[in-house]
Symmetry: C2
Subunit: 226 residues, 2 copies
DNA sequence: TTGACAAGCTTACAGTGTAAGTCTAGGCTT
DNA sequence: AAGCCTAGACTTACACTGTAAGCTTGTCAA
C-alpha cells in the first residue's frame, strides 16, 4: 500500500536544519509567533516533533535560527557613497524586512544569542561608521541609536491602527475609546487623521533626524581616529 | 483548627482586579514574563487559577493591565519649560521605568489594547507638541520617532552584554565568538570596549539628536496651526 | 552475515490557558 | 426565622505545549 502524501507540503527528503528553519519561517510568517510549536513544524515537514531535536537544540534555538534568517534578508549595501548613504539604505531595508516578518520585531533586539547574519550585519555597520570618521564610542552610540529607531519605530508601526486600511474603523471604534473631554489632544489628533483617511507612517522622518544629527556631530568634533 | 497561612503573601482579603495586577507585577518583575501563569498568580494570592477569571478576561487582559501599571509609573512633567524640556523629561523617565521592568519593553509598543495610563501618556505628549507649534502630522511623526527611540533603544540595551558588570566575561567569551578575520570591525570595537571596562549605554545621545532635529524642523518651517 | 550507527518514532510527564459546571456562605425577601 | 438567590471561589476536564528517555528501523561497512 502506497502511503498517499503523508501531510502535504514536502514529499519526503532527509531532514535538515535548513529545511526545519524554512518550514518554521513559513509557519510564523503565515500564522504568527504563537502558532509556532514543535509539533506543528514537524507536521509541516511530515515528521514527528521530537525528530526536530536532532537538528535543533531547543525551541529557543529554532527561534534564533529564524531570526538570523530574517536578518540575512537585510541588504548590506556595498555600493553606497558614504556612511550616511549606507546607514540610510541599510535602515530602510531592515525596516522593510521587519514589516514582512511582523513577528520578528519584538524578538529582534531582545536576543543575546546572535547568529552569523547578525554578526555580519553589525560588522558592516561598524565598518561604515568607523571609516566614516566616528570614534569607537561614537560608533556604538550611532549604531545603538539607529537600530533603536529601526526596531522601536517598526514595533509601534506594526501595532498602531493608523494605517489607511484601518481608517474607517478607527474613525468609529477608535475615537469612541478616547473621550474628548478627558483626552482632548489625543482625540483631536486621531479625528484629524481619521478625516484624512488614515496615514502612512514615515519611518524616514526619524531616520533622517538621526542621520543629520550624526553628520553634524562628525563635522563639529573633528577629531577622529580613536 | 486554624488554617495556618494558606500560601504566604497576603493573608485573605476579597479578590480584586487590583490585587491580581499587583501580584502579577511582582511575579513578573521578579521572575520574568515566562514565569507568569494564571496558576502562579493565583498561588501568590492563595487562590485557584480559575478564580482570577472573574476579574480578568484573559491572560492577555492581565498583561494589558500590567503594562498599564508600568506606564502609570512614567512621570508626566507639568513643570517643564517647553515641549523640548517636557519630551526630554518624559523620555528619560520612561527609559528608567522600562529598565526597572525589563519584561515590559518588547510588549510595550506591540499592544493595540491601550489602558487609561497609556491614553493619558499619549494625550499629554500630543498636548506639549501641538502647543509647541507642531502640526498634526509633525506631532505624530515626532511622537512616533521619540517613542520608537525609547522602546527600541531600551530593548537593545537590556540585552546587550556591554554593561560594565559584563565587561569581564565579554572580554573572554564574547570576543571569542567574533573571529577577527571575518568580522574585523566588530572585533575591534568590542575589544576596545572590553579594555575600557565596559560601557554605560547613553540613552540621551539618540534622544538629543532627535530633539535637536525636531527643534530645527520647527524653526525652519514656521507655519504652525494646522 | 553481522554489527554499528544514525535518523526518525513512541511514550510519557509536567506544565499551560481556559470552558463548563459545582459548591457555599452571606444577604435579601417574605 | 425560613427560604432562596447569587456572587465569588473551587473542581474538573480538555486540548495543547516543550522536551526527557528510550525504542525501532533502514543503511552501509566489515
Amino acid at each position: 500500500m502506497t502511503p498517499p502524501d503523508l501531510s502535504q507540503a514536502e514529499p519526503r527528503m532527509p531532514l535538515t536544519r535548513e529545511r526545519i528553519l524554512h518550514a518554521g519561517l513559513e509557519l510564523v510568517d503565515l500564522h504568527g509567533l504563537e502558532a509556532l510549536s514543535m509539533r506543528r513544524v514537524g507536521q509541516a515537514l511530515g515528521v514527528e516533533a521530537m525528530s526536530l531535536y536532532k537538528y535543533v537544540k531547543d525551541k529557543s534555538d529554532l527561534i534564533d535560527g529564524l531570526i538570523d534568517l530574517v536578518i540575512a534578508e537585510i541588504d548590506i549595501p556595498h555600493d553606497a557613497n558614504d556612511w550616511k548613504d549606507a546607514m540610510r539604505q541599510r535602515a530602510i531595508s531592515a525596516h522593510q524586512v521587519l514589516l514582512r516578518h511582523r513577528w520578528a520585531c519584538p524578538l529582534m533586539g531582545s536576543r543575546v544569542n546572535i547568529g552569523p547574519a547578525m554578526l555580519g550585519y553589525i560588522d558592516d555597520t561598524f565598518a561604515w561608521l568607523r571609516q566614516g570618521g566616528f570614534t569607537v564610542e561614537q560608533t556604538l552610540d550611532a549604531w545603538h541609536a539607529l537600530d533603536g529607531h529601526i526596531f522601536g519605530f517598526t514595533l509601534q508601526q506594526l501595532n498602531l491602527p493608523f494605517a489607511p486600511e484601518d481608517a474607517a474603523q478607527m474613525a468609529v471604534a477608535g475615537i469612541a475609546l478616547i473621550p474628548a473631554d478627558r483626552y482632548p489632544y489625543f482625540h483631536a489628533v486621531v479625528s484629524t487623521i481619521a478625516q484624512m483617511g488614515g496615514r502612512v507612517e514615515r519611518f524616514e522622518f526619524g531616520l533622517d533626524l538621526l542621520l543629520k544629527g550624526l553628520e553634524r556631530l562628525l563635522t563639529t568634533s573633528g577629531s577622529s581616529h580613536d
